[in-house]
Symmetry: none
Subunit: 185 residues, 2 copies
């Protein structure tokens, strides 16, 4: 993966060509550029050409359950994460909250399992600001966007990553996916 810096206008142009929630910049650009690469007038620009590339390998329906589930989860969550929005965040806290929000959206019902995750004496997650605030000093509670959950935010990036890993695990992700999630931060 490479990071490139582009201006607002280009960014908007790319974003406005998103064809599904969570589509990555690469995916969008591949579509746009490949159409352009042919000097031909674009025929059917709406076709989600790129997408297909990714899901090339047919999902093996016969495979063991765990694998299938993992795949579902994976797709679910990564669709909820908007890479561009992530990249735009000023600091790790913003990304942290965005990722958690995506996980919540993808696992609304089981999400309360994260309440089990906590530090030695501080709580990491709670259903109210107060609860978190009272479990330590300067915990800097923040609400996970569009959810009834709050997170403790006063920690270094390393710990935030650990927290993400724990959340991923609690929600049933395998190591690989947990790693991917962790690395979003």
């Amino acid at each position: 993966m490479k990071n490139i810096e582009i201006d607002e206008e280009i960014y908007q142009c790319i974003v406005s060509n998103t064809q599904f929630i969570g589509e990555s910049a690469s995916s969008i650009l591949r579509r746009l550029l490949s159409i352009e690469a042919e000097t031909q007038p674009s025929t059917s620009p709406k076709e989600p050409v790129v997408t297909k590339t990714v899901s090339q390998e047919p999902v093996p329906v016969t495979k063991p359950v765990e694998v299938t589930v993992a795949k579902d989860i994976n797709e679910t969550v990564f669709n909820y994460v908007n890479k561009e929005e992530l990249a735009m965040q000023r600091g790790a806290v913003g990304r942290f909250l965005l990722i958690l929000a995506a996980l919540y959206r993808g696992h609304t019902t089981q999400f309360s399992e994260v309440l089990e995750i906590s530090g030695r004496d501080r709580l990491y997650f709670a259903k109210s600001e107060k609860e978190l605030a009272e479990s330590g000093s300067s915990t800097k509670p923040r609400q996970i966007p569009d959810s009834p959950f709050w997170v403790m935010t006063n920690s270094n990036t390393t710990r935030k990553k650990m927290m993400l890993t724990k959340v991923a695990n609690a929600l049933g992700y395998n190591e690989d996916d947990a790693e991917k999630i962790r690395e979003l931060l």
Copy 2:
């Protein structure tokens, strides 16, 4: 400026389209995308095509000049402003820069007129950080994204709004549009 993550393939594709030493990703992409953006075979690739989506209502060619101009300007600029992106900014400074960037994009050639706008002793706009910094103390110069211009940032919101109004006027907007622009902040 935005950072986006793209895969190697896309990256190579972009790089290989460089047309001069030091060309930025934005510049390359602008070329590539504007060719692509028109569903038609590219006629004049330099046209800010993206804009068209929004400008559904045909521009009345027969109307008086002033009106036409105002309309063009209006469309140009408001298309360049992404409301969501604006809303996402943490503070007024972020929005301020975004709006100015949009104005720059819409009026690249005349934009140097803003250099006339200044305070009693401080400069408000300049072509370099240094210039601004030296014109006062703690002016907090910031580059207007994707432009060679810098703005003074150390002021209250009211003054930032005034600055926007002045810029809008300098670029030929009427009171109404200037007001709209000011209110974006």
